[in-house]
Symmetry: D2
Subunit: 345 residues, 4 copies
Amino acid sequence: MIKIGIVGGTGYTGVELLRLLIMHPQAEITVITSRQEAGRAVADIFPNLRGHIDLNFSEPDTEVLASCDVVFFATPHGVAQASVPELLDRNVKVIDLSADFRIRSVPLWEQWYGQTHACPERIGDAVYGLPEVNREHIRKAQLIACPGCYPTSVLLGFLPLLERGLIDPGDLVANAASGVSGAGRQASIPNLLAESSDNFKAYGVGGHRHLPEIEQGLADIVGSAVSLTFVPHLLPIIRGIHSTLYANLINENAGVDVQAVFEERYQDEPFVDVLPPGEHPQTRSVRGSNMVRIAVARPQGRNKVVVMVAEDNLVKGASGQAVQNMNIVMGLPETLGLDAPALLP
Amino acid sequence: MIKIGIVGGTGYTGVELLRLLIMHPQAEITVITSRQEAGRAVADIFPNLRGHIDLNFSEPDTEVLASCDVVFFATPHGVAQASVPELLDRNVKVIDLSADFRIRSVPLWEQWYGQTHACPERIGDAVYGLPEVNREHIRKAQLIACPGCYPTSVLLGFLPLLERGLIDPGDLVANAASGVSGAGRQASIPNLLAESSDNFKAYGVGGHRHLPEIEQGLADIVGSAVSLTFVPHLLPIIRGIHSTLYANLINENAGVDVQAVFEERYQDEPFVDVLPPGEHPQTRSVRGSNMVRIAVARPQGRNKVVVMVAEDNLVKGASGQAVQNMNIVMGLPETLGLDAPALLP
Amino acid sequence: MIKIGIVGGTGYTGVELLRLLIMHPQAEITVITSRQEAGRAVADIFPNLRGHIDLNFSEPDTEVLASCDVVFFATPHGVAQASVPELLDRNVKVIDLSADFRIRSVPLWEQWYGQTHACPERIGDAVYGLPEVNREHIRKAQLIACPGCYPTSVLLGFLPLLERGLIDPGDLVANAASGVSGAGRQASIPNLLAESSDNFKAYGVGGHRHLPEIEQGLADIVGSAVSLTFVPHLLPIIRGIHSTLYANLINENAGVDVQAVFEERYQDEPFVDVLPPGEHPQTRSVRGSNMVRIAVARPQGRNKVVVMVAEDNLVKGASGQAVQNMNIVMGLPETLGLDAPALLP
Amino acid sequence: MIKIGIVGGTGYTGVELLRLLIMHPQAEITVITSRQEAGRAVADIFPNLRGHIDLNFSEPDTEVLASCDVVFFATPHGVAQASVPELLDRNVKVIDLSADFRIRSVPLWEQWYGQTHACPERIGDAVYGLPEVNREHIRKAQLIACPGCYPTSVLLGFLPLLERGLIDPGDLVANAASGVSGAGRQASIPNLLAESSDNFKAYGVGGHRHLPEIEQGLADIVGSAVSLTFVPHLLPIIRGIHSTLYANLINENAGVDVQAVFEERYQDEPFVDVLPPGEHPQTRSVRGSNMVRIAVARPQGRNKVVVMVAEDNLVKGASGQAVQNMNIVMGLPETLGLDAPALLP
């Protein structure tokens, strides 16, 4: 059994991590911390877990965390930075679900997150935890920076086209939409049911923190700078991200079979499902599951490629991908504990 | 034109009052106050009102309010108490949407609302603003205490049966369910879409503040004490209250035609619609409207009477009823500005 | 491995049965039939199952079904009747999710279901599959009639009180509310999102088919006739049933500790969770799970007992309970394959 | 008073037309037809209209319709074609909400709608009823083809940029999302609440019937052919369309102030509201209203322009725009009966 610690487990990625690890045959949750809820039973905050877990939240304690094999950080950005170095020094594997170690450029990170990075010397050690791109690096990593929810869907959607140089990397559009769990479990008026249900809107059109992360990931694939227009929207659903991606085929590639490109690229990936031509992925088809479903089309046979990607933002977009990374880094089968079908209807 | 002031207009009853008064041909909104949002444009907070109203929220100012014909209080309980006496002294009609003047017993009010009443001497002057019961008193009132959202539906549902002494007042059950707008426009985790959508639960089974108000209203009808079991539930909808009421016919009334009782009682009421036998009222059929729709049944022909009542908690349950009261007290046609059909679908 | 056949798998209980059996370590789905969709891949209709199941729907074939250890009927009422006798004769265990064998009185069944029963001679062999009441009979059954979704919640809610004779069985009220998946996967205008979302209503107040089933189950507990008023409502959610039950304590029992009564009755039940005093069960806390959560209260300390019950109508209310019955009748651990936590948020 | 006939009033555009005309001070609804529901009270199908309208649906009768001043067709495509010529001959103004007369090219219409056009000789007489573009032609029209719901939002969003030649018309993207009322009041499995709530997906990526209509409208503005990629999505909301539009500024226009372009273009339009920089339109801000709200941005100051447009698909996208056209063609104030604020929350 793998001894697991979770730092900051009172948000939605926290409860989802608990749900997945409870079903994982090799996971033993040793400790879960929360300064704010210390002493309170986990099941008291998350009523779905009554009868499934007996832990109480506790104050963070480095000794306890250091005795774990793996520590997950399910904290807001800025928290993991402070604690990660000591855990790494004590040979704990750290899987960070926050944004702290995702962006390699310290100035860029500081510009978008509006604070000084507390641990810039460790950023270089972090592996960006997108297994479909970085599986071999993840295997040997000690610090894994899990991708953001939007970046996971956008990167997996553009990946097959960019790797082969089929599209113009200077004119990419990602029109994405997320369920409200993406905003976290925080009291706020705009995310009240009375405000956000029966409603739809874009937000952050001027600039969303996932933009530099996505552009970095795209540039890594291409090997040079890219230009992405990224417009996120708020969906009146609990879970799910759907990204609709637009790119222009480079002229000499007009004859390419984009369906085949996607099927070949992802044929061995356990968590990427390429749909048959003409189908459209639905967020409910991945609700509660670590699967990403993708479809690709060329409407009217023109040179504009449209890619549609559906994921559960709390699973493949956060906690499920974190467990997938844990499986890889601990040498377990990659799908262990992650193979339950989505909940539908 | 009637000069109108609104105190505390940043909540849902506030915006609904604005929407209704903007459409009202005799209303002129002079001032709307909010300490917290003073200086901010109303349309900035309520994007549906852009282009319909030019006012900014302002600090409460007694001189300005005293120059109005009617002042509405759309404030949390405890606020109106402090300001009402001066306005009454200066001959302003006050229509209070809060709970401050609904309950005649000061100790009972203080027990349920957990604070000392600041203005007990005016409670006796207040008229409980349920026109179907108190129309003539409202006409002459200077201070009107608008009923709560749940009480409106429960009182109108039991009224015809209790007035005629048909049911046992010692064993009444009100199983009610409200949309989340009833909880107000306040940041809170339980009312986030991610928490309250795709969900249903009872709440406050141990005791809800509307219980003493309803029991007072029922006792007024009967002329003696009643016993009500009141269980509210939270619906994953924005607007709407549905109350399902249960009572036992007194034995000698087993032959009564309950459908006729309801139709006769409400035949002249402009805002109470008794449905044909076998139909069920739906909250969407009153969405945005001041109408209450009621159906009555005796399942299996037994002595248990079931009454179903649907209202829009923000209209007939709050701001619409307040405008109805304004129409009555100002000598206008009772339905003025309140006759738009509900929005469906 | 247990060889399993499913008759009629294109509805919501069908897909839920598939989801649960896919995760069940001892289940091998051999055949799934549908006259209408014969030849079509299961995953084509249920996109959550892509990659999890390779079967196609097939025409019903008695030989194939007879080679299974267990056959589930997830069909509309009237279908199982015709096929069950031959399967029973060939020693297949039959678990029927439909209403065909739930009611012991043939005339009562025929009155409520509006057709002649095709197999009255087998009704007496059927065991009503509510394990909390009938576990020992289920163990030895060959034909199990799984309870309806509403009956499961109402029976489990009244059971502890009725068994001890604490309440008046002549005046029971069940105010229940169900998500729309309870209406099945059938094209219909009233269940469109545009009709049923942002809405709430009662339905079937004149008489719902689950009434005679519930009254039979309650009478079995009491040992004599009962009188239940049952009013179902339609919730704008996908899954979940919440029943709010009302009963009068018999006078000499006024001193009883109802909380203790429930805790004692259900202390050894793996799928019934009695909440601490003052809590309210939520449907989301059992979404996708076989757990039932129950709370009991006596508002204002009066003699009216209020019981609140939350279940997932497709799991404990249908397919989960069917698998629980399969585990019992096949001698497996009762919770096998049914222990995943609910999906929240 | 204007005598009005409505053909085919049992769908969502029908009930919305009724709701708007009931509130319209100059409208008198004379007849409403439906073959299927002939004889049934309108309020029987649309419970929000109980007490607001006394009409029954009737069989279509040309004599009765010919006695009206205006006849609205709220029918599926293919129906108006057959009846329009006779009404035009008898000097009735016809406002067609269907697609029958929107597309000027008969072959193009027949290709996308899969049938032979029954009345090609009248297509040339029809005026495309988008007042912001065609107001003067509408004033003199006898046959008005109301724009589709998606086309209204996409055309109004690109209009200011295309009119001034600021963007490349050869690379336009419209990523649009609609509430389910856009699919009409028809029994269908995919639009059940259990299928479409808590879900999001694209649909019709291979080609949607609104594509040729939008491309025709865009080409009319530009004066030459355009190329649009149009991807519609299905939102789990009742009403509302949100279009997010992407276009590339032509290089020499990099310095343009797009905010000013939009504000100038729409400053005199009563039903187009340009939001301040940095804001995002929300569908709920136009729920039940004829207003369109638009915002424009240039993320990161790059040459990609993003336009966001919110409308109520049943109002400005259908019945409200139809009434706006009626006001124009009948010489009434354009906003008459259309100035109620949106319903929020």
